[in-house]
């Protein structure tokens, strides 16, 4: 099965609250949404963000708008107003998630 970056399949937006970053991942179709639900697990997202996120990652399904929500704890070095990072607001986490590669079934 070919491996594809999420950027080719989906869009994402991220934001912050304190030391927590949340990412919404949006599928264009129901079929892609099912694929994302299967492939983009909380554990996989946790592994993807190693080195940036110190706490756990939770995932929520939002099928009414074909979205997955990831909540990343201890993700901003303490939070925007005390972080030394350039991406202090976590706005780049959404695009960063789109770097994740997943396996996509071959199209016949």
């Amino acid at each position: 099965m070919p491996r594809v970056k999420l950027a080719a399949l989906a869009s994402a937006r991220s934001g912050d609250k304190g030391d927590t970053v949340d990412i919404s991942l949006f599928a264009p179709t129901a079929a892609t949404y099912a694929l994302l639900c299967r492939e983009v697990t909380a554990a996989r997202v946790q592994a993807h963000f190693v080195g940036l996120v110190a706490g756990p990652v939770e995932r929520y399904e939002v099928p009414n708008v074909l979205a997955l929500k990831f909540v990343l704890h201890q993700a901003l070095d303490g939070g925007a107003s005390m972080s030394l990072r350039s991406d202090s607001l976590g706005k780049c986490f959404g695009p960063m998630l789109l770097r994740l590669e997943i396996e996509v079934p071959d199209v016949p």
């Binding site: 869009s11 934001g15 304190g18 927590t20 919404s24 929520y60 708008v65 303490g78």
Partner: protein, 454 residues
């Protein structure tokens, strides 16, 4: 069916005024709400308040009012804002002053207070409030001697009270962003405070409007397709009395309103989508349905709500040291290697100067400053790289000394520099400490005062 049109005028402290003018002129709205307070903003306003007790509000408010008040009086638009920040009475006094200068007699300006808990924390604790960190459970003592602000997130009710008293302008402090927009819907459509599904619908509407351009093509995944982004129209909502709404934007403005722009904002900074805790209702976003009607119109329906929480969220800000930083660019050849060498030089210089750094962060802009360890390996032959060094120190003096070491690189480091940003003044770092306070301990102190311009 009865309805009311509500528009967004601003999404953050420092936002442009041109979009609010477009909203007032072209939006056909009865109400315009301005969100000036991101979570971080009180930290900024606190620094103003430390310097001058008369400050602590969003300082762009008077200039915005000078432009908007005459226009809004002419069009019959009422304004609602949380730009009062840490000092709503001070901000309201500025609005009244501007109205006087513009001879807007009879204009009523309301002030909402009661969100500021800083002077009441001891009493709250004595009354049994739990000030442990709401997420980590860490004890309050860890920050008790470093507090700089403490504000509860109020709901829509005091704003509705102000509107009922005839206020044309409502100036509040920390109010939940969405409540600024929910309030005029409740007031105009006569919703009950236990009509959870309608309150949920109004909160979803407010959530879609509170970040201004983020619902109309700003920060949008499909950014390449956004028309005229230099004149982005901010979102407005036609809110119906059954809790549904249609999101659109002023005609003739740039940007776009589609299923995709609205769903990206719908979930923005929402954690558990089935349990979004707003002060007036717990909202379930998973029942919301979006229908793209075409022509920059999206119907939003199906929001459901449950009984409001018994606690209000409050955020305490505490002093967390100082940051010193500096930036300098290196050109080809070996741009990255030169920037790395410069970082080494600086760290030696910090040690030689005896600067006590609790953390030193080195970033290479163009390589890894935004994606950190997730960045792919850099190309071999980069045209340029900017070095950014940031340090965390206990004292302001140490942070300032860091910035003063940067000019050393001007004549004494690797060749090919440019784009030196100058000596950046040290920045105070503030930690945010969320707590949950029983509603009954906060709400009795809420006050609404209306002043009429004579």
């Amino acid at each position: 069916m009865t309805s009311v049109r509500i528009g967004a005028g601003q999404g953050f402290y420092g936002d442009v005024i041109t979009a609010a003018v477009d909203m007032a002129r072209l939006g056909g709205v009865r109400y315009m709400a301005f969100d000036a307070l991101a979570e971080l903003t009180l930290a900024i306003l606190q620094k103003d308040r430390q310097r001058d007790a008369h400050l602590g509000y969003a300082r762009d408010l008077p200039a915005a009012m000078r432009v908007l008040l005459p226009l809004c009086r002419q069009q019959g638009i009422r304004l609602i804002t949380n730009a009062g920040g840490l000092n709503p009475p001070g901000a309201a006094a500025q609005v009244v002053q501007v109205a006087r200068e513009l001879r807007l007699r009879g204009l009523r300006v309301a002030t909402v207070t009661g969100d500021d808990l800083l002077g009441r924390l001891d009493a709250l604790r004595a009354g049994g409030a739990d000030l442990r960190h709401a997420q980590t459970g860490a004890p309050f003592e860890a920050i008790a001697d470093r507090l700089v602000f403490a504000n509860a997130y109020l709901g829509a009710r005091p704003i509705v009270d102000a509107l009922a008293q005839g206020a044309h302008v409502v100036v509040a402090g920390r109010v939940a962003d969405s409540a600024l927009f929910l309030a005029p819907a409740v007031f105009e459509l006569g919703w009950a405070w236990d009509d959870w599904d309608r309150l949920a619908g109004g909160t979803v509407m407010g959530h879609l409007l509170e970040c201004s351009g983020q619902a109309t093509g700003g920060n949008f995944g499909g950014w390449q397709t956004v028309p005229d982004p230099w004149r982005l129209g901010y979102p407005l909502a036609e809110v119906y009395d059954d809790g549904r709404c249609v999101i659109s934007k002023p005609p003739g403005t740039g940007g776009l309103v589609t299923f995709d722009t609205v769903r990206e904002q719908l979930l923005y900074e929402v954690h558990d989508p089935a349990r979004y805790m707003a002060p007036d209702v717990v909202v379930d976003f998973t029942t919301v349905r979006l229908h793209d009607l075409g022509g920059d119109r999206v119907l939003v329906e199906g929001a459901t709500g449950r009984r409001r929480p018994d606690h209000l969220k409050a955020v305490l800000g505490y002093h967390a040291g100082w940051m010193g930083e500096g930036r300098i660019g290196y050109c080809w050849p070996d741009a990255l290697a030169k920037a790395r060498r410069a970082a080494q030089i600086l760290q030696h210089r910090f040690e030689m100067a005896g600067v006590r750094c609790e953390e030193v962060r080195v970033e290479y802009q163009g390589v890894d400053s935004l994606h950190g360890p997730l960045s792919p390996p850099p190309a071999d032959d980069l045209a340029e790289v900017y070095l950014r060094v940031a340090v965390r120190t206990r004292t302001q003096e140490d942070a300032a000394r860091v910035a003063r070491e940067l000019p050393y690189l001007g004549l004494n480091g690797p060749p090919g520099i440019g784009g030196y940003g100058g000596i950046t003044p040290p920045r105070e770092l503030l930690g945010l400490w969320p707590v949950l306070i029983p509603r009954g301990m906060v709400e009795p102190a809420i006050q609404v005062v209306v002043e009429e311009v004579g």
